[in-house]
Point group: C2
Chain length 240, copies 2
């Protein structure tokens, strides 16, 4: 990323302080500052502009989310020339997860920029990841795809994402399943089934039962692992 | 899109004919022809290159799909400045649907370029849409994001997509649900329920029953519409 000297417009801007703070965390001076202001405006702080549409960061989030997805797809495509699209898809979903985006937002210190109607501490942590996605949307509109791509590669992926960790990290299907069940208000239980076919008495057979139907079943020597595997089967069946 | 004169490398290329045919449908001469060859190679015609990885178009499809998503997100963001992200998301999913991509592939005449192991007529129609996505991945790698974006805007979106039709077209939840049920081998039926609460005898109450459980229920004066609404409820419950 080239070094940017302070443009004249910054000196005369009403938002000189914001320009400077963004320069510090982004490494460049924003062009169209209004875009960045929108990116940090949570819907709880937004006002109506027309036909029930608010000037919140949700539209920019939609755009930024997509830009991040493409930059990460390109990055993985080139980094792993001998991996198939199934691997690339899995890696991407881990790299662009809600958790990952919240964590990046915290590392960049975006929290202090966010404009919210309620107390920031009373807001869900996803407000940070949403602001991060919207910020990338703003950079993309302000400076173009290749600039946003360079920013993501040099300031985010190479600095804040541990690719070895991403590669070895399993998708946590149990959490994913439980999140779904809570949202959908479904009763579920993980049952340790005992039957005569057990290869060894140390081999656990776990059945994941939802509304009295078995949605997933798996065997493993580790009970925890068997639960994960049963949840994975259920997630696939539910297309989660 | 600028007019490209025939580059010297085309004259001396072994793939002169392919260069020329691609020029005819794309409007430009490909740079790295190998990328385009990969884009048209279905996995049934691919050979193993390393560690079980094939030189098929699936990796390019992964990349192209993402590029299309971002270009469409940007297009919608700018075309509809006063629509919220829910509208943008819905519009995009209609613009980048499997059907839409198959139809674009057919309009571009990509079918004759596709290299497949079996008879092309014996292949599913999605082979065309997949090749289209892979082609966009190839253009992106060959010429960069902005070129791919211009190509999509001027040669695809403005020419082959009827935005009024996209905007008014409802998501066909019934088809979406049936596709899922067939894939998951679930029994289902749409039942016209009769009860004393019917506001009028012309108001249909439709229940969508899957494995003897009601997954969706809806009332409407049109039976067809009630089925769509019941399927929509089921699709939301199943997070399809």
């Amino acid at each position: 990323m080239p070094i940017f000297s302070k443009p004249l417009r910054v000196h005369f801007s009403q938002d000189k302080k914001l320009h400077q703070s963004l320069r510090n965390i982004l490494g460049f001076y924003p062009g169209n500052i209004a875009l960045y202001k929108s990116a940090f405006r949570h819907s709880s702080a937004a006002s109506h502009i027309k036909d029930g549409i608010k000037d919140s960061n949700e539209r920019l989030e939609f755009l930024g989310d997509s830009v991040i997805g493409t930059v990460v797809a390109d990055y993985l495509f080139k980094k792993f020339p001998f991996k198939d699209e199934g691997f690339l898809t899995k890696m991407r979903s881990k790299m662009v997860s809600r958790n990952q985006h919240n964590s990046i937002a915290n590392k960049l210190g975006l929290r202090s920029f966010i404009e919210a109607g309620k107390e920031r501490n009373a807001m869900p942590s996803s407000i940070n990841g949403d602001a991060y996605e919207a910020l990338i949307g703003a950079i993309y509109l302000d400076k173009g795809f290749e600039f946003a791509q360079q920013f993501l590669l040099t300031r985010i992926i190479n600095v804040h994402i541990d690719m070895d960790e991403v590669e070895t990290k399993e998708v946590d299907f149990k959490s994913k399943f439980i999140e779904w069940a809570q949202k959908e208000k479904k009763d579920y239980r993980f049952e340790t089934a005992v039957d005569g076919n057990a290869v060894s008495d140390k081999l656990f057979t776990i059945q994941l039962i939802v509304d009295d139907k078995i949605l997933g079943s798996a065997q493993h020597f580790s009970k925890k692992r068997a639960e994960q595997l049963a949840a994975e089967v259920a997630c696939i069946a539910l297309e989660l």
